[in-house]
């Protein structure tokens, strides 16, 4: 009985630790997507951005470790990941604002292009080990190693947690936040107010892609802390569904990311205590969960509350 009870606690602890680790990329990508969608455009290509970010962060951290030291190089990697994301975001922003071009189609193209670039340039970095980001140890009070390792929190995660309320405040209380909401809800009204719809959207998509690129850096430099071609496996896409679930509210994006991170941790946590049966099905839990959430929250009768008015309309 005693060992069984410990096993169950092990699963709970594993899910808890996995939530803290695995939610960071969801958080960054969903905040980026939230910013993008507030301006009235959908960026499905953040999956490609995530992969490119993960690859470039890992490559830079590895290549620069001898020049600037293993303490600094991961941080430069994070920055480069964001900039690489901005590059892809720029292509998306430019292409999706051409007349008659559907932004969902552009997103699919950017998934293929972004992952192609990431796999192409990332080929030499699959083997070597790059210096990871440092972690903040909050678990030193405990003597149990499992608890200690569970509470090794990434500073990027804390950064993401800080950005969420900041973005909420930005949308609600600042002049620029109002601009973005106006462009997203009614481009015609925004145009009449003298704003450049295309510039606002360009900035939002590029900034959102910057965040998604950093989300990729979380994957390759924190958890799981390596670069491989299957590192993202749809997390960028789930983030798009997550934003719908969070009703375009940055603070709710935070809760939703924690929820998704938790769902993702169920499979590995069960495996760690030796439950191998149906591990592929448990690993598919986040996808099933996303689908279920979309089935529950969407409705054919009314548009979702909080959805930007011009979301998904074709410009020009």
């Amino acid at each position: 009985m005693a060992t069984e009870a410990l096993g169950a606690w092990g699963v709970v602890l594993g899910i808890f630790a996995g939530t803290l680790r695995g939610s960071a990329p969801f958080l960054f990508v969903s905040l980026g997507e939230c910013l993008t969608e507030k301006s009235g455009k959908i960026n499905l290509g953040l999956e490609g951005t995530l992969l490119t970010g993960a690859m470039s962060a890992y490559a830079v951290s590895y290549l620069l470790q001898d020049k600037v030291g293993a303490a600094v190089s991961p941080w430069i990697g994070v920055l480069v990941a964001g900039i690489a994301g901005m590059g892809l975001g720029f292509i998306h922003a430019w292409l999706s604002q051409q007349p008659k071009v559907n932004d969902i189609a552009v997103g699919i193209a950017m998934i293929i292009f972004g992952s192609g670039i990431a796999f192409f340039l990332g080929k030499p970095f699959i083997q070597p080990k790059a210096p990871p980001l440092p972690t903040i140890d909050l678990g030193n009070w405990s003597s149990i190693p499992a608890v200690q390792s569970a509470l090794k929190i990434s500073p990027l995660f804390l950064l993401g947690v800080a950005i969420a309320p900041l973005m909420f405040w930005f949308f609600k209380s600042t002049r620029w936040g109002l601009f973005i909401r106006a462009v997203g809800d009614s481009p015609d009204a925004a145009l009449a107010m003298g704003m450049s719809v295309s510039k606002v959207r360009m900035l939002c998509i590029v900034a959102g892609s910057f965040l998604a690129g950093i989300g990729g850096a979380c994957l390759s430099l924190y958890y799981p802390g390596l670069w491989s071609e299957s590192i993202s496996s749809g997390q960028g896409l789930m983030a798009v569904a997550l934003v719908i679930f969070a009703r375009w509210n940055p603070i709710q994006c935070l809760w939703a990311s924690l929820f998704f991170g938790g769902a993702q941790a169920v499979g590995p946590a069960l495996q760690s205590v030796g439950i191998e049966q149906g591990r592929y099905l448990f690993n598919a839990a986040p996808y099933v969960l996303t689908l279920l959430i979309m089935i529950i929250t969407c409705s054919p009768k009314k548009t979702l509350s909080g959805a930007p008015g011009a979301l998904g309309t074709i410009s020009g």
Binding site: L44, I91, L95, Q98, P99, K100, V101, N102, I104, A105, V106, I108, A109, M110, I112, F113, G114, S115, G116, I117, A118, F119, F120, K123, S233, G234, L237, M238, V240, A241, I244, Q277, G278, Y280, L281, N283, A284, Y287, V288, T290, L291, M294, I295, C298, S299, P300, G316
Partner: protein, 380 residues
């Protein structure tokens, strides 16, 4: 495509723009190769030679074109209804699973045959077993995408996101089955189902390396073309794709149309999965996830959702995929090179979409008949 009814200028536009886009994509890809320190002209030559250079390499191209034709229809058919479905990979995998289950049941009488059953086949004629496998692929793939269509119609779930999520679910299901309830105990390194007996596999056409899957692909494309362009069903689907409100007011059963079209789309991709199992792999395992699903999306886009054009574009893209191996061997480029190229083609083709009706050469001197917007609506 309502080309026959419009004038030659829009015909020229519909032909020149996609080919121009492909050409521009080739130039950009050449620049990319040059940046990587390779000679772009040598690479063009290698792609051409290993894709279309001689009969042997062209057979390899056609082999890869066969599943692409089928998976392209999975995006092209719903697109005529205004749905953007990219669950091709998932439907292909489900079709592969379905074909394997039906094939094993019809040849051994069990999905997990005992050694005794392996020795004594049921002895059905090959045609029956092959039809059964095709039916399995069609059913599994079709239902898989029909679910996406039903979710779209009844719950307004975004079909792009749901179909992509279902790709991952299908792959997880395949991995679960071939490592668990369908696993052949003798497949240690690469978990697989029991193999389909050789006599029931789809053979090659005459003395070539090409299997009959190519014929399936071509027939499916032709049927899809006639269904969409020359039947009342296709007309109803196109009407609903053009203006869903008008279609509802006209009394068209939009929900039924959505689900039927999605079923047909999925069944095409499912048939591709059946071909992969019954002609190439001989059993279900992770090898059937070869990226044909995602490449099929690109084929559908470049062909502007026209099933006949999709067959041609599939041959073109099949050649590019076939040349991936040569690029890896001769130029020491990563296998992702083909993916980069596909991405570039996709981006340029999407940009060319915005040029319809904007280029002066293709404009009518004086506007009469169809306005440019109606022309693009008819050709999309």
């Amino acid at each position: 495509m309502a080309l026959s009814r419009s004038n030659w200028r829009s015909t020229a536009e519909a032909i020149c723009l996609p080919f121009g886009a492909l050409f521009v994509a080739l130039v950009i890809f050449g620049i990319f190769c040059a940046i990587c320190g390779k000679n772009p002209f040598a690479i063009y030559e290698a792609i051409y030679k290993s894709a279309f250079g001689n009969w042997r390499s062209f057979q390899g191209t056609l082999l890869r074109a066969a599943p692409l034709m089928l998976t392209a229809l999975c995006t092209a058919l719903p697109a005529r209804l205004g749905l953007m479905i990219i669950g091709n990979e998932g439907a292909l995998v489900m079709g592969g699973i379905g074909a394997t289950i039906f094939g094993l049941l019809l040849s051994y009488g069990s999905v997990l045959p005992s050694p005794d059953q392996v020795q004594n086949l049921l002895g059905l004629p090959p045609l029956v077993v092959q039809l059964g496998m095709a039916l399995g692929g069609i059913l599994f793939g079709g239902v898989w995408i029909a679910i996406v269509g039903a979710l779209r119609h009844y719950r307004a779930v975004n079909e792009t996101i749901s179909s992509l999520l279902m790709n991952y679910i299908a792959i997880a299901l395949l991995n679960h089955l071939v490592e668990g309830s369908m696993k052949d105990p003798s497949s240690l390194n690469k978990p697989s189902s029991f193999p389909i007996p050789d006599i029931y596999k789809i053979g090659n056409i005459f003395s070539t390396r090409i299997h009959y899957g190519l014929i399936y692909g071509i027939i499916a494309c032709v049927i899809a073309y006639f269904l969409i362009q020359h039947t009342t069903f296709g007309f109803a689907a196109r009407t609903a794709g053009g203006n869903i409100k008008a279609a509802r007011i006209a009394g068209l059963p939009v929900g039924k149309l959505t689900i039927i079209i999605c079923f047909l789309a999925g069944s095409c991709a499912g048939l591709a999965g059946m071909v992969e199992v019954a002609a190439v792999q001989g059993q279900a395992n992770a090898s059937i996830i070869a990226g044909y699903g995602y490449a099929g999306i690109l084929v559908a886009f470049v062909a502007r959702y026209n099933p006949l054009a999709a067959a041609l574009v599939a041959i073109l893209l099949g050649g590019i995929i076939a040349s991936g191996g040569a690029l890896q061997r001769v130029f020491n480029m990563p296998d992702a090179t083909v993916l980069v190229f596909q991405g570039i083609v996709f981006i340029v083709v999407l940009y060319s979409e915005s040029l319809y009706g904007r280029l002066k050469i293709f404009k009518e001197p004086e506007l009469k008949g169809t306005p440019p917007s109606a022309v693009t609506a008819a050709t999309v």
